[in-house]
C-alpha cells in the first residue's frame, strides 16, 4: 500500500482525549492478546498526534504515539499496527504463511494470491474474511507483511485463485522506511 517514499515532514494534528480512548478500546477489541502490553505500545499519558499519508487513491490516517507512527486506520476504519509493532508483538494477530516463491512478490508490494498460501510451503489459520493478519514466509521467523484477508480460509482453499490477502504494509515499503528506528541508522 505504501509503495512510494513518504515525505517525513508530516502535517501533524492534535487529537481529542475521547478519540484516543476510543482508539485504544478499538485496538483491544481487534487485538485482544495485546491488552496487557498496550500500556507499552500506547501509554495512557502518551503524546498522541495524527496525520494523513496519501496512498494510491486515498488518505490513510496514521497515529503518532510519542512521535512514532505505531498505528494506522484504513478506509474501512480498521485500526492496524505498523510492521514495527507487529515485529515486537508477533502474537497479536493470526499468521498466514506464504511459500518461498511468494516472498519477492510481497516484498515488492503485491497482494497475496491464493496459490501462495495453498501450496505446500504455505500455512493458514482458519479465518474469516476482513481479518488483519501477519504475512509470514516459509522458513522465515519474522513477518514480511501485514494484510487484510479478503477471502475466508475456506474460500481461499476452494477458489485457489485471485487475491486472498490485501497487502497493507510490507518490509521496505515507504512506511517501513519512515518508521526506521534511530538505533539502526
Amino acid at each position: 500500500m505504501f509503495k512510494g517514499t513518504i515525505d517525513e515532514n508530516l502535517n501533524k494534528q492534535s487529537i481529542k482525549g475521547s478519540e484516543v480512548k476510543k482508539l485504544r478500546e478499538k485496538i483491544i477489541e481487534t487485538y485482544p492478546s495485546i491488552e496487557k502490553y498496550l500500556e507499552e505500545i500506547w501509554p495512557k499519558d502518551a503524546k498522541v498526534l495524527k496525520s494523513k499519508i496519501k496512498v494510491e487513491d486515498y488518505l490513510v490516517q496514521v497515529y503518532l504515539i510519542d512521535d512514532e507512527i505505531r498505528f494506522m486506520e484504513n478506509r474501512d476504519k480498521i485500526v492496524i499496527p505498523t510492521m514495527r509493532i507487529l515485529h515486537q508483538y508477533p502474537f497479536m494477530m493470526p499468521h498466514m504463511q506464504c511459500d518461498k516463491g511468494a516472498i519477492k512478490h510481497i516484498l515488492s508490494g503485491s497482494d497475496v494470491m491464493c496459490p501462495g498460501l495453498t501450496s505446500p510451503g504455505g500455512k493458514m489459520e482458519n479465518l474469516e474474511r476482513y481479518q488483519v493478519v501477519a504475512i509470514t514466509a516459509e522458513g522465515k521467523v519474522n513477518a514480511m507483511g501485514i494484510g487484510i484477508t479478503v477471502m475466508s480460509t475456506e474460500e481461499i482453499i476452494k477458489k485457489n485463485k485471485d487475491v486472498a490477502i490485501e497487502l497493507i504494509q510490507n518490509l521496505n515499503d515507504g512506511l517501513w522506511k519512515l518508521t526506521r528506528p534511530a538505533a539502526t541508522l
Binding site: E39, P90, F91, V141, N142, I157, L171, W176, K177, T184
Partner: protein
C-alpha cells in the same frame, strides 16, 4: 489440501511456537548491543522490562527460559543496569514465579538494507554487504541464514576427496582451521586454467565487488559465485592468478586484514603448473 482437523490445531500451535522461536533473538541481541547503548537507553529498557515484569502475570514456561537466556546479557551491562536487573528479579521472585517479560521482541534489522537479515537476499541481487554485516554483528544469525562458514570449506573438501587424497590436501587443511583463504587452481579444457578463491567472506570482503576488482587487476574474467556446487561461495577467475594474487593482497586485501599466512594455494590436478603459468596469465580476454 488442508484438512479441517489439521487446520484447527494450527493456530494454537503457531501461537505457542512463534514466540518461543524468537526468544533467542532479542536476548542475544541485547548481549550484542549491551556495549553500544547509551546509559539512558539502557535505563529506559530496564525500566520497560521492570514495568512489564510487574504487570505480566502469566507464569509461562517460556518466560523462565528467556530469563535464563538473558543472564549473560545483563552480566555484560553496566552497574546501573545490573542494579535494575536485581530489582526485577526480586519483583519476579516475590510476585509470581519467574516473571521476566519477553516482549517487545527486539528483531535484528540489517544495517545495510533495513530488513530482518533473513530477508536480505530478497531485497536486491547482491547481499554480500548484508552478509558481511550480519557475520560481523550477529554471527549466530549468519550461520542460521547462510549456513556456518566452516561447512562451506569442508563441503568443498569433501566434494573432491579423490583429488585431495592425491594431493594430501587434508594435511594442510587440518592445522589451518576454517578461516583460510584458498586459491584452487583447476585445469579447464586444454591449457586454460580456472582459479577459484574460497574463504574471503570469512573476512567480510564483499565478494561481488572484489570479483570486479580482480577482473580489472588481472585483466581476465572474474565472477562471484554465490553457490558453487564444489566450493560454495567463491570467486572464479579465468586464468592462473596465483603469482599475481600477492600483489592484489597488498593493494586491496590489506583493508580487510586478511593475514598473509592464511592464504593457501592449491592445485586441484597435478602437473600443468609450469605450463599454465606462462601462457595463460591473461585468461580469456
Amino acid at each position: 489440501m488442508y484438512g479441517g482437523a489439521a487446520q484447527e490445531d494450527e493456530p494454537a500451535q503457531q501461537q505457542e511456537e512463534q514466540p518461543a522461536k524468537q526468544v533467542a533473538g532479542p536476548s542475544k541481541m541485547l548481549a550484542a548491543f549491551a556495549g553500544g547503548d547509551s546509559d539512558e537507553e539502557r535505563k529506559k529498557k530496564a525500566k520497560k522490562r521492570e514495568r512489564q515484569g510487574k504487570k505480566a502475570k502469566g507464569g509461562k514456561k517460556q518466560q523462565s527460559e528467556s530469563e535464563e537466556e538473558e543472564q549473560p546479557a545483563s552480566t555484560q551491562a553496566t552497574e546501573a543496569d545490573k542494579g535494575d536487573d536485581k530489582e526485577e528479579q526480586k519483583v519476579g521472585a516475590g510476585a509470581a514465579p519467574v516473571e521476566k517479560p519477553e516482549f517487545p521482541l527486539q528483531v535484528v534489522y540489517c544495517r545495510v538494507c533495513g530488513v530482518p537479515p533473513e530477508y536480505c537476499m530478497f531485497d536486491k541481487k547482491d547481499s554480500t554487504e548484508c552478509k558481511a554485516w550480519v557475520l560481523a554483528n550477529h554471527p549466530e544469525l549468519h550461520d542460521q541464514i547462510y549456513g556456518a562458514p566452516k561447512p562451506v570449506e569442508e563441503g568443498a573438501a569433501e566434494a573432491a576427496p579423490q583429488q585431495q587424497q592425491k594431493k594430501k590436501k587434508k594435511v594442510s587443511l587440518a592445522p589451518s582451521g576454517d578461516s583460510d583463504v584458498k586459491i584452487y587452481k583447476a585445469k579447464r579444457g586444454g591449457k586454460k586454467v580456472i582459479s577459484t578463491v574460497v574463504g574471503l567472506h570469512n573476512y567480510g570482503v564483499p565478494l561481488k565487488d572484489m570479483a570486479k576488482i580482480m577482473g580489472k587487476k588481472f585483466a581476465c574474467g572474474a565472477a562471484y559465485q554465490p553457490d558453487d556446487e564444489k566450493y560454495g561461495e567463491c570467486i572464479q577467475i579465468q586464468g592462473d592468478v596465483a603469482e599475481r594474487f600477492v600483489d592484489l593482497l597488498e593493494a586491496e586485501l590489506t583493508k580487510y586484514k586478511v593475514p598473509f599466512d592464511r592464504i593457501k594455494f592449491e592445485e586441484v590436478k597435478k602437473k600443468k603448473k609450469a605450463e599454465a603459468a606462462d601462457g595463460d596469465d591473461d585468461g580469456d580476454e
